[in-house]
Point group: C2
Chain length 221, copies 2
DNA sequence: AAACTATTTTAGGCATACCTAAAAATAGTT
DNA sequence: AACTATTTTTAGGTATGCCTAAAATAGTTT
């Protein structure tokens, strides 16, 4: 019925790797995600397969079963709800909450999750713009695209980040770029793909392609 | 520097056994408190002694070191703060929060504890009337006595419970007896020490000695 | 003091979740 | 098709925290 912290971390990691189709769900990818070694991952995959949380065949990679996916999404839901609590209620900054939410996501109590959700006003996204799955695991995500894909002259709203590291988030703070900002792409340099953007029709900022790839936008026009 | 969940549970249990001088800090008492076997306790005592969190000599019982006490009180502080959060903010009932707080007390982040404390308005007691240690581990407890010790004709205020079980708390709910109630002892039966009390100058209630021992009062007069 | 009882500790085991090093399987290249 | 490089798995080992059963100690009675 209920998983260990470690099992939950693996399920969450596998779920994220399946969703972000950038990487494939290889043993090595999971090892990197949960910060361990490939041999340890193989051990755990066997255990998760025994519990019918993943389907797994040696050398052939993994998929989450419906059951596994349900647990993974539940952990993600809790993580993101706690992040909202930490930022909105306790006034943490958005670059400070990840490690704490990483612990809080393992607290086991359905009543707690539902009461927290209600207390927070049933938020749809977390402080980094990631969608919060609802009680039934449904995720109502708006379509997000990296800023690097915006065409010159077009506008969009910043709705998320692809890099959740404190370093990147602090960089955005320093540049005063935040979720909800209106962004217009003024010009793009062919050589290094760096760009000049206009933020909220006020500030003109120069950013590298590296940064543009990690800023997610919606509602291009 | 930091303890495992299990170590924290042992430290908290030992601290409580030292404070409540009803029981002595024997291996068996600890085993009962952390819900394990005596042999497992011995294992853990060795480990805690190695870490200088307790002083321990075979067959001679344990005492917390200053360091051990600091960690124990910190866990208690977190437990009680989370209970306040669960009851005051999330609207849990006072008989529902123990198990959840038991998990939340292990979340590691000083910043979180301090921000939670501030968010809650620096509460002095938890929903069961137990004092919340401050940031420095100081506990400002008012003097509490079991209702069974009140003399006939005298009055007092209910400020706590000795039994934290859901069963007892639900019993109090049903009888509509709660923290802060003014209690006057009308009469006492010599035979079984049961008593009749007047609550808030309104309700007259008959309670057993068993119950009276588990209701804590302050400010007798 | 000896004997008995209760408590505590030791000894030896088990499951979890990790590790390193070596072997096996797969994928890519010539 | 053979060889190489990479990935993945197996084999064997570690630390934590628990267990049961047996031995050691303490406390109490006769």
């Amino acid at each position: 019925m209920s998983q260990t912290h470690s099992e939950e971390n693996y399920l969450k990691a596998i779920w994220k790797l399946v969703e972000n189709p950038g990487e494939n769900v290889s043993t090595n990818a999971i090892a990197a995600a949960v910060n361990t070694k490939a041999a340890s991952v193989t051990d755990m995959l066997k255990k998760l397969a025994d519990k019918k949380l993943i389907s797994y065949e040696r050398y052939k990679g993994v998929t989450l079963t419906a059951k596994g996916k349900r647990f993974a999404v539940e952990v993600v839901r809790k993580h993101r709800l706690w992040e909202v609590f930490l930022v909105d209620q306790l006034k943490f900054k958005w670059d400070e909450v990840h490690d704490i939410a990483e612990q809080l996501e393992h607290i086991q109590s359905n009543a707690l999750t539902e009461k927290l959700d209600k207390f927070l006003g049933f938020p749809k996204v977390d402080p980094h713009g990631d969608p919060i799955p609802d009680k039934d695991g449904k995720i109502s995500g708006q379509h997000q695209v990296p800023l690097s894909q915006l065409e010159t002259g077009k506008k969009a709203i910043m709705t998320g980040v692809a890099d959740h590291s404190a370093l990147f988030l602090q960089f955005l703070d320093k540049k005063e770029i935040k979720l909800g900002d209106a962004i217009e792409l003024k010009e793009k340099t062919d050589y290094d793909h760096s760009m000049v953007i206009l933020v909220n029709k006020k500030k003109t900022i120069q950013i590298s392609n590296e940064v543009a790839k990690n800023i997610l936008i919606s509602g291009m026009k």
